[in-house]
Structure formats: C-alpha cells, structure tokens
Amino acid sequence: DTGVTQSPTHLIKTRGQQVTLRCSPISGHKSVSWYQQVLGQGPQFIFQYYEKEERGRGNFPDRFSARQFPNYSSELNVNALLLGDSALYLCASSLWPGTGYLSMNTEAFFGQGTRLTVV
C-alpha cells in the first residue's frame, strides 16, 4: 500500500456525461499529478498541482479540469465524456513538483487508479 488513495476504483459512464475522480496524497506530500493510461501505453501526463496551484498541464482538451484542496487532496473532472476517455486514471503524489529541484528525489507514488469505462 503506497498510501495514495483514489476513488472510485471502477466507474462506468455514458458518453456525454461528466465524471469526478478523487485522490488523497501521502501525508506530507504537497504535489499531486494526474495521468491517463490507455491499455498498452505509458501514463500520459494531464495535470500537476503543487500547493493548490496548477504547475503543469499536458495536451488534453479543456474538458479536463482539476483542482487541489487545502488538505492537498485533488479532484479530476472530465466533462462531455467520449468513448476515447476510457482509461486507467492514475494519481501520483510527491514531495516536490520537480521543477528546479534537479537533484532532489522527486519519486512519484502512484495510487491504484480509477478504471473509467465510457459506453
């Protein structure tokens, strides 16, 4: 158990619906990143938040949004779901965001993910 918790673990949604995924980082970690992993591919970066501010955004449409709360937990929202949004959504927490800390350990601890199926 890495300590990063994600909910729900599985979700089935209909095309056009909206979904909210939740993540609680390891205690003391202030950076949370979201990734989308399609079967057979590596995780694709969606967002990173650090100290409640967005620090990075991947090449995803505006239908994807996220936020980080004062307790450092985070939510990922996806609107107007498409069939192609079906994937494993991973949340990763780390001590630092990585920027500017080149030699510091920025290992990311991943949660077990949320398996989203859009039908």
Binding site: T2, G42, G56, G58, S103, E107, F110
Partner: protein
C-alpha cells in the same frame, strides 16, 4: 517537446535469462526515473538517475544513465517469475510535466 522512447515493446525470456530494456530521449534529460507496473497494478518507483554516466544497482537490477544524458537502460540478471511486468522510464517533471515511455513488457517462462 520531450519524447521518451523505449525498446523493445515486448520481451519474452526463459527464467534465468537476462533482460535489458532501453530508453532514448529526443532531448537531454536532467534526470530519469524507472518504474515497474505489475499486470493490473499501478506504476511503482524503482530508481532515479541524475548524473552523466551514472550506474546504480539494486540486487539483480542494474540501471545506467548515458554519458550524454539522452539514454538509459535497465538490465536484469537471471530473471525470475517475480520480474514480470511492464518497465517504464520517465523523463523529469520539468515545468510539472513528466514524460513516460510506452514501456517494455517482460514475460518470464518458468
């Protein structure tokens, strides 16, 4: 933008054989990380390499960072069935973005 490519995509070995996966970047990397994902699981951090030419070992696993810091490799000696999974390399989280390769999936035949 930064791209990280891994080869091979799949590797099937007999238990006891060695295994190597290679990671190549289109740009110089400040550091590189390696992760392992078991079937049905989530990526688990293995190691981070920072220095040019760096070599690190973890039991049967040897990680190398190229002199030009544009490539890296992971070598497993005498594979075991517990080594099965997909191994990913990931570029650094500069500006909040980290780039994962598509991984090398290792299967081990007992």
């Amino acid at each position: 933008g930064q791209q990280v490519m891994q080869i091979p995509q799949y590797q099937h070995v007999q238990e006891g054989e060695d295994f190597t996966t290679y990671c190549n970047s289109s740009t110089t990397l400040s550091n590189i990380q390696w992760y392992k994902q078991r079937p049905g699981g989530h990526p688990v951090f293995l190691i981070q390499l920072v220095k040019s030419g760096e070599v690190k070992k973890q039991k049967r696993l040897t990680f190398q960072f190229g002199e030009a810091k544009k490539n890296s490799s992971l070598h497993i000696t005498a594979t075991q069935t517990t080594d099965v999974g997909t191994y990913f390399c990931a570029g650094p989280a500069n500006a909040g973005k980290s780039t994962f390769g598509d991984g090398t999936t290792l299967t081990v035949k007992p």
